[in-house]
């Protein structure tokens, strides 16, 4: 669970002013925060997040309360089928993010309704639908081998991995986030239905509570260990940080990825029964933060600077293997990622009777080879938290830029 940045208090203070200036500057370059474009999508009403824009929503837009995530495998070997599916998904996503059904629920008595109907009458609930492409999509099947970005290198085996192949990888991913779980699930369910004959669900994950804040307007939530983890996350207002660390820019070898990002998903099971018996002092040493306030062990308030040099006697105040130290940009050459994870539970482990619960970690970044992978290699080897967590699933996906408007679809440029 990499922790994001520091340099913190300053950024937070200046966030508003910098953000506004940055957005103006970036607007010209086409890398501003997603804004509505297209004829049928004026400035979104409250409860609506614009679907069309330079970047896909669901990355730098404020993290919603709930997650439904799914990975698909494409079963058809026709590139036309694949594009038609992505086009159909794009239209359905435009509808659902408006709070509208994907099609009629009352067509004729003798045909199944087009929309499954469970979200009828519910508000859009800030639904965002974010789609990505796994490395396996770029094999020989669709003629895309030469379009694979070098940054989409499959994540190598990392220290401490206990990955289940049935909870890992996939040709396509769909991240649906909303403030209403039924709205988020409705999106995944209808996508799966629209995919029949072309793609099948490979795995899916529900998240019941956000563990990150991606806007300065949001409180930092707590993870299932009861800690605020991700205080120093990149925020939507940090336009320059987003350009530096999250959005793919001119450096990419694949033009179709400009304005996109790379999504890393890790299903991190927490051994919470063990954690719950650990004493408070040790828990705080593990994270390097105070449990109640969320302040670093060197400070008093949540957003106080993490002082990695502070010592008490001969020992560092923040232990050398504390999570906050190992994940800090200061110990990682300024490396940052945008975290957007959710707490999950999948009932109990049938073998042990222990709760199967933890963090469904999601991070966005410019290049996982230089961001997530080295960070996790370090955390997986040294993090004191490892005693209480297991990485049980993993996925890497290239998230293309946002859609321009109706008639555009994910990866349209990829197939051109």
């Amino acid at each position: 669970m990499p922790e994001a940045p520091s340099g913190v208090a300053r950024r937070r203070f200046l966030g508003g002013a910098l953000g506004a200036a940055g957005a103006l500057a970036a607007g010209g370059a086409g890398f501003g925060v997603a804004k509505a474009v297209g004829t049928d999508d004026p400035a979104p009403a409250p409860g609506r997040v614009a679907f069309y824009g330079p970047h896909q929503a669901g990355i730098a837009t404020p993290a919603q309360d709930r997650l439904a995530f799914a990975a698909f495998d494409v079963t058809s070997s026709s590139a036309d089928d694949l594009q038609r599916l992505l086009g159909t998904w794009a239209a359905a996503a435009a509808q659902m993010t408006k709070g509208a059904p994907i099609g009629s629920v009352e067509t004729a008595p003798d045909v199944p309704p087009i929309d499954t109907g469970e979200a009828l009458g519910l508000p859009p609930a800030k639904l965002t639908i974010t789609v990505g492409f796994g490395p396996s999509l770029f094999d020989a099947r669709f003629g895309l081998a030469r379009k694979r970005p070098v940054a989409l290198e499959p994540i190598p085996a990392l220290p401490g991995d206990t990955l289940d192949p049935n909870r890992s990888d996939g040709d396509l991913c769909v991240q649906a986030c909303a403030d209403d779980p039924q709205v988020a699930f409705h999106a995944i369910r209808n996508f799966a239905r629209l995919a029949r004959g072309t793609a099948v669900l490979r795995w899916s994950q529900l998240g019941f509570g956000r563990t990150s804040s991606t806007s300065t307007s949001q409180e930092t939530p707590r993870n299932l260990m009861g800690f605020k983890d991700g205080t120093n996350n990149i925020k939507a207002e940090d336009t320059a940080e987003l350009a530096d660390h999250v959005w793919v820019g001119a450096e990419t070898d694949q033009g179709w990825m400009r304005g996109g990002s790379y999504l890393v998903a890790r299903r991190i099971r927490m051994l919470i029964e063990s954690w719950d018996t650990d004493n408070l002092a040790d828990q705080e040493q593990v994270f390097g933060r105070f449990k109640n306030s969320g302040a670093p062990l060197t400070g008093k308030h949540e957003f106080d600077e993490v002082d990695l040099k502070a010592v008490k006697g001969t020992e560092p105040v923040i232990p050398i293997d504390a999570h906050v130290r190992l994940a800090s940009p200061k110990t990682n050459d300024g490396l940052r990622i945008l975290r957007r994870g959710y707490s999950y539970t999948d009932g109990i482990d049938a073998d042990t009777g222990l709760l199967d619960a933890g963090l469904f970690f999601i991070a966005f970044q410019k290049d996982p080879r230089t961001q997530f992978v080295p960070l996790q290699r370090k955390l997986g080897s040294h993090d004191r938290l490892n005693e209480y967590i297991r990485h049980t699933g993993s996925g890497l996906f290239a998230v293309p830029p946002g859609l321009r408007g109706p008639g555009d679809w994910w990866g349209k440029a990829l197939f051109a």
Binding site: D40, S78, A79, D80, A91, S104, G197, P406, D408, A416
Partner: protein, 403 residues
């Protein structure tokens, strides 16, 4: 109708699907103007009117105006509708209606994609229908008289229902023969022969299961008498295939089974009486096919059906074959109504057959791997192939109902 030999290892399913399979996927590029141009290709002669003249309507779908054809009046005969969805995210299909009847249609048309369909129509008033559009209906007028030659869809549907009726009768007759062999074996001493007789009889029931299931009169159900699993009915009333299966494959004993064999033969005779000369509706064929695939998805792939013999894959093959046969009967008519849908279903039945074929083996009496030999990945693969047929198949009933 081809009927499979009872115990011999079945070969590929020889239905009307074979020919269509050859027309499979052409790898079109969706960005070009030819994207989605699969309707007429798959449709063969549908819509290519006898006259050399080709009338074309260009239809643009927009969020603002809905479906707009550039031409709304035609003379009778072949008309091609070329459709482009510009930006209407709520619309994904276009139909041509005569009253409530679908004359032709094109699906899978999200914004950014094009497609077309062709029809051959006599004079009359028609409606271009785009469900979900801001203006859903546009009138199309056809005048004059067609040069004729179009085959009547109603006649084709009638042939379909008669053909299916004959198929059902043939299966029930074979079920009776196989049931009598089973009853004979149950009176003997040879357990292996009795197990084989059980395996041989099952397919004929599984192919027409929805027909048998339709006969429920009060407390009396043919399906329960023949096919109830343990616990479905009070223990004292439990008889039929699975009562026999449990004794043969779990207890491995023939003791006391003679009476169940005789009851089974009697129950099949009841079924034969009920199904003799039965008239089916086209929608019943479509729904029956769907029910057979539901059977596969709901209880066969989960291993709930053949708990003791573990020949679930054989049941799956026969459920699919029964569905496939019902669809094949409808195919000539459906080809006229919606060639693209027909091709999709035929292709996917073909793909499903190929998946099932992977589990054939000569080392088991059923001709298939036993349920316990299937991995979770195997089961998911079969289930996904079944779902791929179910989704388009669910649209067939409405098409043949209105035809």
């Amino acid at each position: 109708m081809t009927i499979r030999a009872t115990s011999a290892l079945p070969t590929a399913r020889p239905t009307a699907l074979a020919g269509l399979g050859l027309l499979a996927a052409l790898g079109l590029t969706a960005c070009s103007s030819s994207a989605g141009d699969d309707g007429p290709k798959a449709g063969g002669d549908a819509g290519r009117g006898p006259s050399a003249e080709r009338r074309v309507a260009n239809v643009e779908i927009t969020a603002a105006k809905g479906c707009v054809p550039d031409k709304a009046t035609f003379t009778a005969g072949g008309i091609t509708f070329k459709i482009k969805n510009k930006d209407a995210t709520a619309v994904s299909e276009v139909e041509l209606l005569s009253g409530a009847r679908i004359v032709g249609e094109k699906e899978n048309l999200p914004p950014g994609f094009t497609g077309e369909f062709a029809v051959t129509v006599p004079a009359g008033k028609y409606t271009l229908y785009c469900p979900g559009a801001s203006t859903e209906r546009r009138p199309i007028t056809v005048t004059g008289s067609a040069a004729t030659g179009s085959t009547d869809v109603a006649a084709l549907l009638k042939t379909a229902t008669q053909g299916y009726g004959e198929y059902v009768e043939t299966q029930v007759a074979s079920l009776l023969t196989a049931g009598q062999r089973l009853a004979t074996a149950l009176r003997g001493q040879d357990l292996a022969a009795a197990q084989q007789a059980y395996v041989d009889a099952r397919p004929f029931y599984e192919k027409i299961e929805p027909v048998a299931e339709s006969f429920v009169v009060g407390q009396d159900s043919i399906d329960a008498d023949l096919d109830a699993r343990e616990g479905d009915v009070p223990a004292a009333k439990w008889r039929g295939f699975h009562r026999i299966e449990k004794a043969l494959f779990q207890k491995k004993s023939l003791t006391g089974l003679a009476i169940y064999g005789d009851q089974l033969v009697n129950d099949v005779k009841r079924l034969q009486k009920l199904t003799a000369g039965l008239a089916f509706q086209p929608t019943e064929l479509a729904n029956g096919a769907q029910e057979l695939l539901d059977e596969v998805a709901a209880s066969k792939i989960t291993g709930e059906e053949e708990r003791y013999s573990r020949i679930d894959m054989l049941d799956i093959d026969d459920n699919v074959e029964g569905a496939d046969q019902a669809f094949a009967q409808l195919q000539p008519a459906l080809q006229k109504i919606d060639p693209a849908l027909t091709k999709t279903i035929a292709d996917r039945f073909g793909a499903l057959d190929r998946v099932i074929d992977e589990y054939r083996t000569t080392s088991n009496p059923s001709g298939f791997k036993l349920y316990g030999e299937l991995t979770a990945a195997d089961k998911r693969k079969v289930a996904a192939a079944v779902k791929a047929v179910q989704e388009p198949l669910s649209k067939v009933a409405s098409k043949v109902a209105n035809a």
